[in-house]
Symmetry: C2
Subunit: 222 residues, 2 copies
């Protein structure tokens, strides 16, 4: 099946939205925790968090214009901090429900039944039920002229994670923590690891790595 | 386990890179196909492709500074076009091998054993073995001051996808197409769908959707 830029423009809006949202592949599912100056909390699921760099440790995310997470964006701009909390198998329905258009006076924590946790004197709320909790400070935000989405970049200030999920080489076993993946707008998936692969070099065969990053079985590729 | 900004700075570099790369959750795995003005092709796996908007249909991705995909970036800037091709279970080892530091004169297509396909008179090469092939034109690129990564935004000009993978409401069943998810730098995962969930509204119970987007079972949440 072949769609062109023109035929995409003629599709029903919802159909097109579903289709285009599936094209990037699997997406991360994270809850963004914020509060305003008065301490009123807000929680929003986003599928747009991405790794930006390890040193300095940076993460980025996209907020769509006029979407529900605008409350989150306002809070981030107001306080300069936010949390990113991975969505797991145990809480994905609550996480999805947080995308409903609650008023600014309602806290999604209460509405969907998740607990705000305050850790290490960080002023933004973490999600108690989340195994991977990250506290960030805002370092840059900009409106992308191309469609008025907002790019937000945060620097990692705190990471809370179960110690046994960190493997010998620093790899975090998020599958073991039951972190879910998203596809499209609304499909939630658990994962099954096929393998970790060694760092690729020209003219060298790939190896399978153990979960701890040690060399295991050799693969012939190419 | 609690890491602070300071303790992260004291970690071994590779350990920190593994850890930070795992924090965003599951990542998409895509192959970026490009060619230079002379037609010399290039292929690079990236985990940073993200959905940016459905109308106009836009996708974004991040190129790290001084990393291998810089050849891809040069080609995109030179020709104004590129392709995004989803990585599936059948080709993930070849896709991973494309991250090796080949010279500009070597084509990763040849080196890893994937086939360049030219479709609909689009000048950038698609990956023949990929089920989801997207042709894009460059609409914006910028260097992010915070760490010199490069943000590239493309507008979708062509989509090639198996017709039976598109469900009644436009949802693309990328799990059915055996698209893989990535975690960290090197871990490849297949997925298992738990369910699709209905559009969330305040004071309304969530429903499970069928793969075609029809209402099925009702869930109580919150």
């Amino acid at each position: 099946m072949h769609f062109t830029r023109e035929s995409l423009g003629q599709l029903d809006k919802r159909y097109r939205t579903q289709l285009i949202n599936s094209l990037s592949g699997f997406k991360s599912a994270n809850l963004i925790g914020t509060s305003d100056k008065t301490g009123q909390t807000n929680l929003a699921i986003v599928s747009s968090v991405f790794h930006l760099g390890a040193n300095p440790p940076l993460m980025g995310l996209i907020f769509r214009p006029h979407s529900v997470p605008r409350h989150s964006l306002q809070n981030i701009l107001e306080t300069g901090i936010f949390t990113i909390n991975q969505v797991s198998e145990k809480i994905y329905r609550q996480a999805h429900q947080s995308s409903a258009k609650y008023t600014q006076e309602q806290s999604e924590f209460n509405e969907v039944g998740l607990e705000a946790a305050y850790l290490a004197d960080f002023k933004a709320p973490f999600v108690a039920e989340s195994s991977v909790k990250i506290g960030l400070s805002l370092v840059e935000n900009q409106t992308l002229a191309v469609n008025n989405t907002e790019l937000v970049i945060g620097e990692i200030k705190h990471i809370f994670v179960p110690e046994n999920a960190i493997k010998a080489d620093g790899y975090l076993d998020i599958e073991g923590l039951e972190t879910v993946a998203l596809s499209g707008l609304d499909s939630y998936h658990v994962t099954h690891r096929m393998e970790r692969l060694s760092y690729a070099k020209p003219n060298q065969t790939l190896s399978q790595l153990t979960i701890n990053g040690e060399f295991s079985r050799i693969h012939k590729v190419g």
